[in-house]
Amino acid sequence: MRWLAEVHVRLRPGIADPEGQTIAGGLRALGYDTVAEVRAGKLLRLAFEAADRGTAEAALDEMCRRLLANPVMETADWELRAGDQDAEQRA
């Protein structure tokens, strides 16, 4: 069956994030001076086939570990839900 995942890749805490700092500066320049911090990351949306939830979770863990995140500097967490194939076919 089809599974849909959203993978969030984040820089590990404590690693300087100049992109996030620059975005925070932009927000403050617009007057949002209560913004204390912005951390930039990546959102990856995956659609894939797996027999059951356990298999899908194991596959996601492996994909994150091998490619999607570099454990030296990043963490990855994800949300997984069953894909609605009927809805996709109607679209």
Binding site: L11, I15, A16, L67, V72
Partner: protein, 242 residues
């Protein structure tokens, strides 16, 4: 020696320094073989170069896709057997992604792409890529990157220092290492490191762009020429080339 060293230069989609390395090889009397990343066998090289560029568009992370290119399995085996491997710029990023060298290269702390001549302090001068240099001297090589901020956790940095594997640091023209001379925010001003055995060098600067005084400097020629003497001192390699 019947011929100069044969150097395999790995070419990924998006590599841009492969021809500069081929030109450098011609100045050094080396035979450069450009090897497409999809190849699974290397052409019996004496050394391997991973050049700079933007392999696979640097999508996801620099080097993240390139490290799984088929040629990288052969490069990993070559490195594991003690073969000399040099990764410059994107090549350094690929080596860290592959786990052949520790750490990672992150976005420059100021977010700018920097393309300029950069003084470097030589911390260690040994092995196939550094033997012609002198510890403590200051050399000049071009840098050309947006993601060169070396990062590793404190324990990994301490281990690199303890084992004298930090070989190049960003410095000012007098050779002083300080924050102002650090062009990208690299931790401990690290510009280049070697693996435990010393046969694999990763560096952000571009030695292949510093080959002729007419174009700004020739310290890259001195660095790369180290390979010649090192190979001659390896009995197995010398015998093979007779």
């Amino acid at each position: 020696m019947s011929r100069g060293p044969r150097v395999a230069v790995i070419v990924f989609p998006g590599t841009w320094s492969d021809r500069d390395f081929a030109h450098a090889a011609s100045l050094l009397g080396w035979e450069a073989r450009l090897v497409w990343h999809a190849e699974t066998v290397l052409p019996d090289p004496d050394a391997v170069v991973l050049p700079g560029g933007f392999a696979h568009g640097d999508y996801l992370r620099t080097g993240a896709i390139a490290r799984f290119s088929p040629a990288m399995r052969a490069v990993e085996a070559f490195a594991a057997a003690g073969g000399p491997v040099l990764g410059s710029c994107n090549g350094f990023q690929i080596l860290t992604e592959a786990g052949i060298l520790p750490g990672a290269l992150l976005r420059n702390d100021h977010l700018e792409f920097r393309c300029e001549w950069q003084p470097l302090r030589v911390e260690r001068a040994a092995g196939p890529w550094l033997g012609e240099l002198h510890p403590g001297e200051t050399i000049r090589l071009p840098i050309s990157h947006g993601e060169g901020r070396y990062f590793a956790d404190a324990a990994a940095l301490d281990e690199l220092e303890r084992s004298a594997r930090v070989v190049l640091r960003y410095a000012d023209p007098a050779g002083t290492v300080n924050a102002a001379a650090n062009p990208n925010g690299s931790l401990r001003s690290i510009a280049g490191i070697v693996n435990e055995r010393g046969n694999v060098l990763g560096l952000m600067p571009h030695p292949e762009r510093a080959m002729e005084d007419e174009t700004g400097g020739s310290d890259g020629l001195r660095l790369l020429r180290s390979l010649d003497a090192w190979l001659v001192a390896q009995p197995a390699v010398a015998e093979r080339r007779l």
